[in-house]
């Protein structure tokens, strides 16, 4: 599996460094062609207004939406149906899809290459904003709307209100050191959204189907635990 990190703007190099420390092949994604090579994608921290514009203008945003919506095949299902033509088997895959488990567990993505397989996505900070269904705050960018949550931009204040913390995250044993940089807040989550971590009683890491978002940066600290949690969504 190759993991892509969206590299229009932001701390994509830090994410790639974490992935390399886990010995996971990782590439920078700046085009539809790059995106077609990956089966998992990280949208990094940065400025959501900037990354959002590139997503819109390049067509990469639309393609992410299309591929996240592709239903992965159930893991133990026999290989699908006689017709092996790409379009046809895709259709059958969609028809035969099962509802996604909130944890994405028990299912494996299709692996046909060429950008036709289902995509899992992890967004940090700006990436989280761009994946949310709704965003509040001034000059909010257009989003991909892939997770049922509302985010408020720069909700803690300006840079002087940025801070570091240690987070307890479900599925990770030790507290994870993270940074909240001009961070957004998750002000509302839909009922099918799983909350994986809270800070001061508010959700900061959530997951729904193929999509996980966090309002903090683990990639700028030494920890790779959150990335492992994300990569486990493919298994």
């Amino acid at each position: 599996m190759i993991v892509g990190v969206l590299a229009f703007q932001g701390d994509f190099a830090e994410h790639i460094q974490v992935l390399h420390s886990l010995r996971v092949p990782a590439i920078e994604v700046r085009s539809l062609e790059d995106l077609s090579k990956v089966s998992a994608l990280i949208i990094p921290g940065g400025e959501s207004t900037v990354i959002g514009k590139f997503l819109q203008e390049s067509g990469v945003g639309k393609e992410i939406v299309r591929r996240v919506a592709l239903r992965p095949l159930p893991r133990l299902r026999p290989a699908p149906l006689p017709s092996r033509e790409r379009g046809a088997s895709l259709d059958s895959a969609q028809k035969n899809s099962i509802p996604l488990h909130p944890e994405g567990g028990g299912v494996a993505p299709e692996r046909r290459g060429g950008g036709t397989e289902s995509l899992i996505v992890y967004g940090t900070c700006a990436g989280a904003i761009l994946l949310a269904k709704k965003v509040t705050g001034k000059n909010a960018p257009k989003t991909l709307g892939l997770i049922d949550a509302t985010l408020e931009r720069n909700a803690y204040g300006t840079q002087i209100d940025s801070f570091e913390a240690e987070l307890k995250i479900s599925g990770i044993q030790k507290p994870v050191p993270v940074a909240f940089i001009r961070a957004p807040k998750i002000t509302h989550v839909g009922k099918n959204v799983e909350v994986l971590a809270k800070f001061r009683g508010e959700p900061v890491l959530i997951r729904q189907g193929n999509v996980m978002i966090g309002t903090f940066h683990a990639e700028v600290r030494v920890s790779s635990e959150v990335h492992k949690l994300f990569l486990a969504m493919t298994r």
Partner: protein
């Protein structure tokens, strides 16, 4: 190992990477910059080319103008102070700007010292022309380094020089013995552990942008190709004929710097870059301010 004090400031600089930070004088310009895809704006009293043309003492911008800019945009707002002007820095900290640029573009205020940046909570970006200067600023608490270049000239040669010097000096550390490293640290008046960190990591411990003289998308792409992590554009945007278009083109070129076909598309038909100045004929070289 050398310890950086302002962790979240160093982090914010990482979030700006791959982006373009644009000089703006008014809230209206700030909105144009944000709409074009700037990752931050830099508030200042006059853009560098006007400072050159008009002369006089250049100072921190009027706080009311900075406040209007903060209100107008959602991206980080930076503002410039004079070298060593701790009071201007405290005023900007009280306004909760996101980053302070202790800048040679303004008239220096202190002939002996730069601001003690470790004493403030707001992160600082500082200019440098070589490795020693960059490390002195980092030791003082800078969270981000940029080349000085020669601001307000539309002439990119000094930015290229400074970036290549910094990169070259970092590479040269590799072959130095312990004694030579110590000698370098003493000569440059920087902590020896900071020098050995840079030798080991083969990069500065903070994000490194370029600034000074960038006037076209190709200029931005050239510097990104040379290893810059992002770009400051001063006069290059709002002294061009079509600022919104030039701003967008430079943003695109900074992201797609290694895609020649895209660069061709971005650069084609883009006339009206700011007029340039020959650096040899300048009465004031801003890059020589600071030490």
């Amino acid at each position: 190992m050398f310890t950086l004090t302002n962790h979240t400031g160093v982090d914010l600089a990482k979030m700006l990477k791959g982006g373009v930070i644009m000089d703006v004088v008014t809230a209206k310009q700030a909105k144009i910059a944000e709409a074009a895809g700037a990752c931050a704006v830099m508030a200042l009293e006059r853009v560098p080319s006007d400072i050159r043309a008009q002369g006089g003492v250049a100072r921190m911008s009027d706080p009311s103008l900075i406040a209007q800019i903060q209100k107008a945009v959602s991206i980080p707002v930076m503002a410039k102070i004079r070298i060593g002007h701790t009071a201007e820095a405290r005023i900007l900290e009280a306004m909760a700007v996101d980053f302070i640029d202790e800048s040679e573009v303004l008239t220096p205020a202190d002939p002996f010292h730069h601001v003690d940046k470790n004493a403030l909570k707001i992160p600082f970006v500082c200019g440098a022309t070589n490795l020693g200067e960059a490390l002195r600023r980092i030791a003082e608490g800078a969270c981000m380094i940029r080349t000085k270049g020669e601001a307000g000239t539309g002439n990119v040669v000094e930015a290229v020089r400074h970036l290549k010097l910094i990169k070259g000096e970092i590479a040269a550390l590799k072959s130095m013995t312990a004694a030579e490293l110590k000698k370098f640290a003493v000569a440059e008046r920087v902590p020896p552990e900071l020098v050995s960190d840079v030798k080991k990591a083969q990069r500065l411990p903070v994000v490194t942008f370029v600034a000074g003289g960038i006037a076209t998308p190709a200029d931005a792409a050239l510097l990104m190709e040379l290893g810059a992590e992002g770009v400051f554009v001063g006069s290059g945007i709002f002294k061009s004929k079509d600022p919104a278009r030039m701003a967008k083109a430079i943003v695109q070129a900074t992201t797609h710097y290694n895609d020649a076909k895209k660069l061709l598309q971005i650069s084609t038909g883009l006339t009206g870059a700011m007029a340039g100045l020959e650096i040899a004929n300048l009465p004031t070289k801003m890059s020589e301010r600071g030490w």
